[in-house]
């Protein structure tokens, strides 16, 4: 479910970095963060039914001048691989991928998804940070947003339970 303090820390990092639109598909470990997003007035929250839709929404939002992020589980990263490749990467779209790292060491579900997550990101050529230190959350988010904008590419943040 995550903690309220962890969710507040992440939301503050997103706002401080200028993220103003988030597309999402839920995961139980991001429940507190999603609850904050549903209440938040500064960030446009766009729930979608499948993660690849979210990559499309974030692309359109960027073309409109927004700073978008996509919140999802790593299973959703797999669902969105074609959209990431032939839209986000091929057109050069900056989007921050906020991905819950299911199947990470210490997690008890979706171990196969956990196993392939980092190799898939590497195969797609998407740089990423595995977020394990709550004290570095703000810095990690700011760094990902800076690189996404300067490289005009997706950049991923793998959220572990330690920071949620």
């Amino acid at each position: 479910m995550g903690t309220i303090a962890g969710a507040q820390n992440i939301l503050a990092g997103l706002k401080n970095s200028g993220i103003d639109l988030i597309a999402s598909v839920p995961d139980i470990n991001m429940l507190q963060l999603l609850n904050l997003l549903y209440e938040d007035k500064d960030i446009a929250h766009v729930p979608v039914g499948r993660e690849e839709e979210g990559i499309g929404v974030c692309t359109g939002a960027h073309l409109a001048g927004k700073f978008p992020a996509m919140l999802m589980q790593n299973g959703g990263l797999l669902n969105s691989a074609n959209g990431l490749t032939t839209t986000a990467l091929q057109f050069g779209i900056p989007v921050v991928l906020m991905i819950y790292y299911a199947g990470d060491i210490g997690d008890n579900a979706f171990h196969m998804v956990g196993l392939v997550t980092e190799p898939v990101l590497q195969g797609l050529g998407i740089k990423y940070i595995v977020m394990r230190d709550p004290a570095k959350v703000q810095q990690d988010i700011a760094g990902a947003v800076t690189l996404a904008n300067s490289s005009k590419r997706p950049v991923a943040l793998l959220l572990t339970r330690a920071v949620l």
Binding site: L21, A23, A44, V46, P47, V48, G49, R50, E52, E53, G54, I55, G56, V57, C58, T59, G60, A61, H62, L63, A64, G65, K66, P68, N82, G83, T86, T87, Q90, F91, G92, I93, N149, S150
Partner: protein
């Protein structure tokens, strides 16, 4: 009716609206009929409706057209539910239903058997202004209505298969993106491609 004659018929109704056009013949034909930096091509089958939704949410005062295909919409049918959920007033989604995967060689789609009702699905998904059209006049009426009334709008245009002889696109996807963003910046008066100042300029 043919897609090309439909595009020619609606082009005079268009001013500065933005267009997100699906991978396939609709993109080439529309850019031949109405060349504009306000047109953006799509390379991912099915994603045009989602990109259009993001654009419409990001620019709520600007009309955004999506040109979709029956094979493409089948791949992302859930986007109709998502559009129905978010109710973008400025989104006009046109389905060019030729009942085949034209760009893949004409294989059948979900629409070929004639059992699916895309406009009915859109309406049931919450897109109230949803209709099917079978003639050029009906299409022009539907587009005029959509331009003058709040949406979201969905128009399923039943067309014959076949492409018009038109030139290739002028821009690849990257050049298209930059032209499109600069067009949005100029017409909306906002900065999108905010390039950072180089570090040397920050020296005191």
């Amino acid at each position: 009716m043919k897609r090309f004659e439909c595009l020619q018929a609606i082009a005079p109704l268009i001013k500065d609206e933005l267009f997100v056009t699906t991978a396939g013949g609709a993109t080439n034909e529309w850019n031949a009929v109405r060349p504009s930096d306000g047109n953006i091509q799509v390379k991912t089958l099915g994603l045009c409706s989602s990109i259009g939704l993001g654009l419409a949410i990001g620019l709520p005062k600007r009309k955004v057209f999506v040109f979709d295909g029956d094979g493409a919409l089948w791949m992302n049918l859930g986007s109709l539910a998502t559009i129905g959920l978010h109710q973008p007033k400025n989104l006009i989604h046109i389905l060019w239903d030729n009942k085949q995967y034209e760009s893949s060689g004409g294989e059948p789609t979900v629409a070929t058997a004639g059992t699916i009702d895309f406009a009915g699905i859109a309406k049931s998904a919450g897109i109230k202004n949803s209709r099917a059209v079978g003639t050029v006049d009906e299409l022009k009426d539907a587009v005029s209505f959509a331009l003058n009334n709040d949406g979201p709008h969905f128009i399923a245009a039943n067309i014959e298969a076949g492409r018009a002889e038109v030139p290739p696109l002028k821009y690849d996807e990257l050049e298209n993106k930059y032209h499109f963003i600069r067009y949005v910046e100029d017409t909306e008066g906002k900065s999108i491609l905010r390039l950072p100042q180089s570090a040397s300029y920050l020296l005191k």
